[in-house]
C-alpha cells in the first residue's frame, strides 16, 4: 500500500466511548475520551489496571472483539475515520501504518517460525517487497534495535533468545514497514529493570530516528516521564487530566493525579517522617460507577451535592497552559500548592539485637544432563556464593537484584525448603542451615514466614479466607479449641485492617490488595519474628501499593518483626528499608545502610540499577547508564568478577584483574561493604546517579 501523505495530526480521538456488551448489561469501558497525537510526538496513557487504557489502544486498532463496540465519537488516523473503513482497508493499515507492541514478547512471536521469516513477512505483505530486499531490510532493522550478530538472530527461533532480545525483535517487527504510529502497551512490564532501561532508551532513539508518533501505555509514571512529551491520566474509563509532561507533573490540576503522586515513593518520601498517602477506598467496578465524578468517593476535595450530582463532567481547559485540561469541577478553587497535611509522623522502632545471621552461606545445585536415567555429565549451578550478613530485630533489610540473582534460592534455604551446601544460618542462637523444614520444630517454622509476590496465586482458591488462616494457626499449634482459633483469626483480620465478614469469603471475591492482606495475616499467624516478603507489592496497583506497604511497616513497628524485603524496585526500597543488600548472580555485591548504598561510592552494578529505575519527578536529574547485554546464565558464569561482562568501569582496573579473580569483600565505611576491584581513588570519583535539582 502507498503511504499516505498527510500534514495534520497523526491520530485524533474525539469524544470516544467504547462499551462491552454482556448478556446482563452494557459495560462502558471508555467514556468521552479525546486525545490528539501530532507527528513525531509521544503521548503517554497512564492509569491503574481496569481504567480502560488498553481498550483505547484496541479501539485504535479496531480490534475490540465480538462484544466490544464503539458507541460514540470517532477515531481519525491521518484524517480518515477508522470506524468507517472496511476490513480490507483496515488490514492494509494495521502493521504498515499503525503497529502495536504488546506486554508479553513471547506471546507476540510465532514460536514455530524463524525470526527472519516473521520479520520479512511484514514488508512482503504490505509493500510487495521481494524476498531478497525484505531480508536486507530485516537485517537493517535488527541492527537498528542493537542486537548483536543480526544474521544469526534472523536464523534463530524465538525461544533461543532472552526476554529482552525478544522484545527488541517485536519492536523491530513493528518498525519493519516504518509505521506512522506505534502503540506500545506496557512494553517493558515483563522485563528486568536494567533490560527495561535499555529497551526504553531504544524506543526513544528509534522514535527520533524514524519520526514515528507513539502512544505509550503504562502504569508507571516514571517511565512515561522518561519517554513521552505529553501525558493523559485515566481513571475509571475517563481521561481525568491531559497536558504536557511538565504541566501535569509539576502543576497538576486534578485530585486523582495529585493523589497518585502522593502514593508513590519519590526520593523525598520517608516511612517515618513523610509516609506515603494511600488513596482510600477501591477502584469502582465499571457497572458500579458513582453518579457525577467517578473519583468523588475517594477524593479529598469532595463536595456533597456538587461532585455527586448526576451530570456528566466535561474536560475543562486550564487557562494559560498548552492543551492542558482537567475533568474536575473544582480545579480552579483548589489550592494546588498547599503543603501536604501529614496524617501522623511515626517513630521508628528501636533496632534490637541480632535475630538472624548468615555466614558464608553457599547453595549449589547439581543439574544432571539427562534427567530420565541419571548419569551423563552433571553441571553445577552456583545459586548463592558466600552470603554473609546479619539482620536485627525491627529492622528492614532489602534484598535487591534482578531475576536469576539468587534471591529466591536464598529465601528457600532460609525457609528450610532446601538445605545449604556450605556455611551457616544462625537464628536465635541455633544453627538451622542443615535442618529441612520437616525436621524443624513448630516454633522455628512459625518464626520464619513468607509473603508472596502474586496476590492471585497466594491463596488457595477453593478454601475460605478464614479457613486458610485457621489452618496456619492449627499447624503452629496456637489455640486449644476451634473457637479459640476462630477468635485469633478474627483478630488477625483486624490486624491487617480487613472487615471480619471476610472470614467466610472465598478468595475470588477479594481484590488483589485484599488478598495480599490475607497473605500477610497468614504469615503473621504464628507471631513470626522474621518475615520474608518476596516483592509483595509489585503486582498491585500504585494506589494499593502504598496502603499495603504502610500496613507492613505498621505491623513491623508493633511486633518488632525483622523484615527481609526482596524487591527490584529501588524507589520502594529506599522508602522503607534500613539496610540494603544488592545481589548479582549469587554474589552479594554491595551491602550497607540505605544511605550508604544510595550514595556514592557505589558498586558499578548498584550504580546501573539506580540509573535504570524510572523516577516520576521532573526535578530529578539522572545519569544515564545503560547496561549492554543480558545477565549471564548461572549455569555458566563468567570467570572472575560476575559483573565484568557488563561493567562500564572494567577498563579502570589494571591488569585484567576483573576477568581473573573474584573480587574480595571490601569494607568501605562502618557496615558498608562492596565486592569490587576498583581502587579507592576510582570509587571516590563516582558521582551521584540521582540529583535533585534545587527548586
Amino acid at each position: 500500500m502507498i503511504k499516505l501523505d498527510y500534514d495534520g495530526p497523526i491520530l485524533e480521538i474525539d469524544q470516544l466511548s467504547i462499551s462491552f456488551f454482556t448478556r446482563l448489561r452494557e459495560i462502558p469501558a471508555v467514556m468521552d475520551f479525546s486525545v490528539t497525537v501530532q507527528p513525531g510526538e509521544a503521548v503517554g496513557l497512564v492509569g491503574e489496571s481496569g481504567c480502560g487504557k488498553s481498550t483505547v489502544a484496541l479501539g485504535v486498532m479496531q480490534d475490540l472483539g465480538k462484544n466490544g463496540r464503539v458507541v460514540g465519537g470517532s477515531i481519525k488516523f491521518k484524517g480518515q475515520d477508522l470506524g468507517q473503513m472496511t476490513m480490507e482497508e483496515l488490514r492494509d493499515i494495521r502493521g504498515s501504518e499503525i503497529a502495536m507492541i504488546y506486554q508479553e514478547p513471547m506471546a507476540s512471536l510465532n514460536p514455530a517460525m524463524r525470526i527472519g521469516k516473521q520479520l520479512m513477512e511484514v514488508p512482503m505483505i504490505h509493500q510487495g517487497m521481494s524476498e531478497k530486499d525484505a531480508y536486507e531490510r530485516a537485517l537493517q532493522v535488527v541492527t537498528d534495535v542493537k542486537l548483536p550478530d543480526p544474521a544469526r538472530i534472523l536464523n534463530s527461533f524465538p525461544h533461543q533468545l532472552s526476554g529482552g532480545q525478544q522484545q527488541r525483535i517485536v519492536i523491530a517487527m513493528a518498525l519493519m514497514s516504518e509505521p506512522s504510529l506505534l502503540i506500545l502497551d506496557e512494553p517493558t512490564t515483563a522485563l528486568d529493570v536494567t533490560v527495561e532501561a535499555a529497551v526504553v532508551e531504544l524506543v526513544k532513539d528509534l522514535g527520533k530516528k524514524y519520526g514515528t508518533s507513539m502512544l505509550f501505555i503504562s502504569h508507571n509514571l516514571g517511565l512515561v516521564l522518561e519517554t513521552c512529551d505529553r501525558i493523559c491520566v485515566m481513571y475509571s474509563g475517563e481521561a481525568v487530566e491531559t497536558g504536557s509532561i511538565e504541566d501535569v507533573f509539576d502543576k497538576m490540576q486534578h485530585p486523582y493525579t495529585q493523589a497518585l503522586f502522593r502514593s508513590i515513593p519519590l526520593p523525598g518520601a520517608d516511612k517515618n517522617a513523610r509516609p506515603l498517602v494511600a488513596i482510600p477506598g477501591n477502584f469502582p467496578l465499571p457497572h458500579e460507577r458513582p453518579p457525577g465524578c467517578n473519583f468523588g468517593p475517594r477524593c479529598d476535595y469532595f463536595e456533597d451535592g456538587r461532585c455527586n450530582e448526576d451530570t456528566r463532567i466535561r474536560m475543562a481547559e486550564v487557562a494559560g497552559d498548552d492543551r492542558h485540561a482537567s475533568r474536575c469541577l473544582k480545579f480552579k478553587e483548589i489550592d494546588w500548592d498547599a503543603p501536604l497535611t501529614l496524617a501522623e509522623t511515626k517513630t521508628k522502632g528501636e533496632v534490637g539485637e541480632v535475630v538472624l545471621s548468615m555466614d558464608k552461606l553457599k547453595k549449589y545445585y547439581e543439574v544432571a544432563a539427562n534427567a530420565m536415567f541419571g548419569g551423563g555429565e552433571t553441571k553445577v549451578v552456583k545459586a548463592n556464593e558466600s552470603l554473609s550478613f546479619e539482620a536485627r530485630e525491627s529492622e528492614t533489610l532489602a534484598i535487591v537484584g534482578e531475576s536469576g540473582c539468587g534471591k529466591s534460592t536464598f529465601a528457600k534455604v532460609l525457609m528450610g525448603l532446601e538445605t545449604a551446601t556450605e556455611g551457616t544460618i544462625t537464628m536465635n542462637g541455633t544453627q538451622i542451615q542443615d535442618t529441612p523444614i520437616e525436621a524443624r520444630n513448630t516454633k522455628t517454622v512459625a518464626d520464619v514466614q513468607m509473603v508472596f509476590q502474586n496476590p492471585f496465586d497466594t491463596l488457595n482458591p477453593s478454601m475460605t479466607v478464614g479457613r486458610q488462616i485457621i489452618r496456619a494457626l492449627e499447624i503452629f499449634k496456637i489455640g486449644n479449641s476451634e473457637a479459640d482459633r476462630r477468635t485469633r483469626m478474627l483478630e488477625l483480620l483486624d490486624l491487617v485492617k480487613l472487615p471480619r465478614e471476610f472470614a467466610d469469603r472465598m478468595p475470588r471475591q477479594l481484590s488483589g490488595g485484599q488478598k495480599q492482606r490475607v497473605g500477610i495475616a497468614r504469615a503473621f499467624a504464628g507471631d513470626a519474628r522474621i518475615v520474608v516478603a518476596d516483592e509483595p507489592v509489585s503486582a498491585l496497583d500504585v494506589s494499593v501499593q502504598a496502603a499495603v506497604t504502610d500496613l507492613l511497616m505498621e505491623i513491623q513497628r508493633e511486633q518488632k518483626t525483622t523484615l527481609l524485603f526482596i524487591s527490584h524496585d529501588l524507589s520502594i526500597v529506599r522508602y522503607l528499608s534500613d539496610r540494603v543488600m544488592v545481589m548479582y548472580l549469587g554474589h552479594v555485591v554491595e551491602l550497607g545502610s540505605t544511605d550508604q548504598v544510595f550514595a556514592p561510592p557505589y558498586h558499578p552494578y548498584t550504580e546501573a540499577l539506580l540509573s535504570a529505575v524510572p523516577i516520576a519527578d521532573t526535578s530529578v536529574e539522572k545519569q544515564h547508564i545503560v547496561l549492554e547485554g543480558d545477565i549471564p546464565s548461572a549455569m555458566n558464569p563468567p570467570p572472575g568478577c560476575p559483573f565484568q561482562t557488563r561493567c562500564r568501569w572494567k577498563s579502570e582496573v589494571p591488569g585484567g584483574l576483573c576477568e581473573k579473580d573474584i573480587p574480595p569483600v571490601r569494607h568501605l565505611a562502618d557496615g558498608h561493604q562492596v565486592k569490587c576491584h576498583l581502587s579507592d581513588e576510582k570509587l571516590a570519583q563516582m558521582e551521584p546517579v540521582i540529583k535533585i535539582a534545587a527548586q
Binding site: S19, F21, E26, P28, R69, V70, V71, M372, M415, L417, I437, E438, R440, T442, V445, A446, V448, Q449, M450, F452, Q453, N454, D457, T458, L459, N460, P461, S462, M463, A472, E474, I475, F476, K477, G519, R522, G526
Partner: protein, 488 residues
Amino acid sequence: MDPLTWTGGLSLLNYPLMLVAALLLVGILIQIVMSFFVAASTPTVNADGTLTQNAGLMGTIGTGVRMLLLAVIALVVLYIIGGALMGPDAGIVGGMSRQLLPVWIALIVLFAVSIKFKRKLGLYGKLFDSTVGMIGFGLVMFWVIAGVMAGVFDMLVTHDTLSQSSGMKNKLPGTPLRGAEDADYQWFLLGGDNLARDVFSRLFEGAWIVVYIAPIATLFAFMVGITLGLPAGYYGGRLDTVLSFLANLILAFPVILLFYLLVTPEIRATGIPSYMAGVLFIFPLIFFGVLLNSRYYTQPKIRTPLLIVVLGIMAWAYLSLISNEGTFVTNERYTIPGLPAALDWIPMPPEILVVFVSVVFVNSITVFRIVRGLALDIKTRDYVAAAQTRGEGPWYIMLWEILPNARGPLIVDFCLRIGYTTILLGTLGFFGLGLESESPDWGTTINSGRRLLALYPHVAMAPALALLSLVLGLNLLADGLREESLKD
C-alpha cells in the same frame, strides 16, 4: 387379541411428526449451505446504548429452524403424555409410556426442584443454565431412575426376566402374550428374544447392572488414579519415572487380550483377579485415611475417633468386597480365608469381581496420567509454596491444596469416563466375558441378539439404542459441566 401397532390410537400424530421432522432436516441443511454465502449482519448501536441486531436472511432461517425443533419436541412430548394417559390403546409407545409413568414423575419432580433452587446448588445448579447440560442430565437420570426402579424396587418390568414363555420366541414388538392370565401383562412390548423372554423387561433390568457397576467402577478407578497420580506429579523424580513407565507399559498392552487373560479359567484358578482386587480395592482406604489424617493430625482428639470409625467401616466394606463365601482365594492347592460369610454384607460373585477388576485396572491408568499432569501444573502455585513454608506435610498439600483445585477437569473426566466404562462393560458382555450368559445386561443381550440380527433386529436394537442414549447423555452432561464451570 391383536398385536399392538407402534402408535395405536395416536397414529394420527405420525404424519405431522414426519412432516415436521423432514422440514427440520431441510431447514438445517439450508442453514448450513447459506452460511457459506451470506455474511452475518453486524449489530447497530442505538442512542440509548442498546444494541439492535438486524435479523436479515440468516436470522429468519434461524428462527424457522428453532420453531421446527420446538414443534418436534412438542410432538414427542404429546406422544409421551398421550401414551401415559391412554396406555396400550396408544400402541407400543403408549404401553411403554404408561409403564414408565413413575420415571416420568420422578424426572419432572427432580427437574422442577433443581431449577427452582438452582442458584443455591453450586455447579450442579449451574448445569440448568445450559441446554446441552440439561438434555444430557435428563438422559442420564432417565436411565438411573429407571435402573433403580427396575433393579431395586422391581417396578416397571412387565414379566420375569429369566422365565421363558412358550410361543413367544423371536416375536415382534407388540405381540400379545399367548395364554396370558388376567394378572399378567398382556403383551411383550418390545417382543421376545430367541429364548422367548420379554425384551422390554430385560432392557430395564439390564439398565440396573450398567447403572450400578459403571459409576462405582469409575469411582474406584479415580481413587487409584488419584492416590498414585498426586505423588507422581508432586514429588516427580524417580518415583514419577517408575510409575509413568509402568503406566505406559500397561497402556501398551491390548485391553481385550488383558480381559481374556483375566477371565480364562486357568488364570482365575491361580487367584490373580482376587489378588488384583485385593490391591485395587485397598486404595480408597489409603485415600481416605491419608486425607483425614493429614487434615486433623494437629488435633488428635478429633483425628483418632474419626479415623477409627471411617477406616473401620471402610475396612469392613473392603473385606466384604474381596471375600466370597468366606474365602479370599480358593483353588485346588490352597485356600486363603477371608471374612466369614455371616459378616459379608456385599455380595460379590466372582464373575462380577473380574469385570470390576478389569474395568478399574484399565481406567485407573488414564486417570493417573490426568491427575499427574494437573498436579505438575498446580504444584508451582504460590499457595502450595505457602503451605510448604508453614511446614505442611506432603499429603496435606497434595490432597487439600492441589486436589480441590484440580476438581474441574476431574469432574468432567468422571462423567466422560462413566460413558467409556459403560461401553467397556457392553464390550465385555458382547464378548461373553465376565457376566453369565443369561445376565440381562446390555452387552450380553446385544451379543445374544446378534446372531439373528438380519431376521429379528429388535432383540439387539433395543439394548443398543439404550446404550447409545446413556453414553450420549453422559457426554452431553460432561460438555454442559465443562461449559458452565468455565463461566465462573
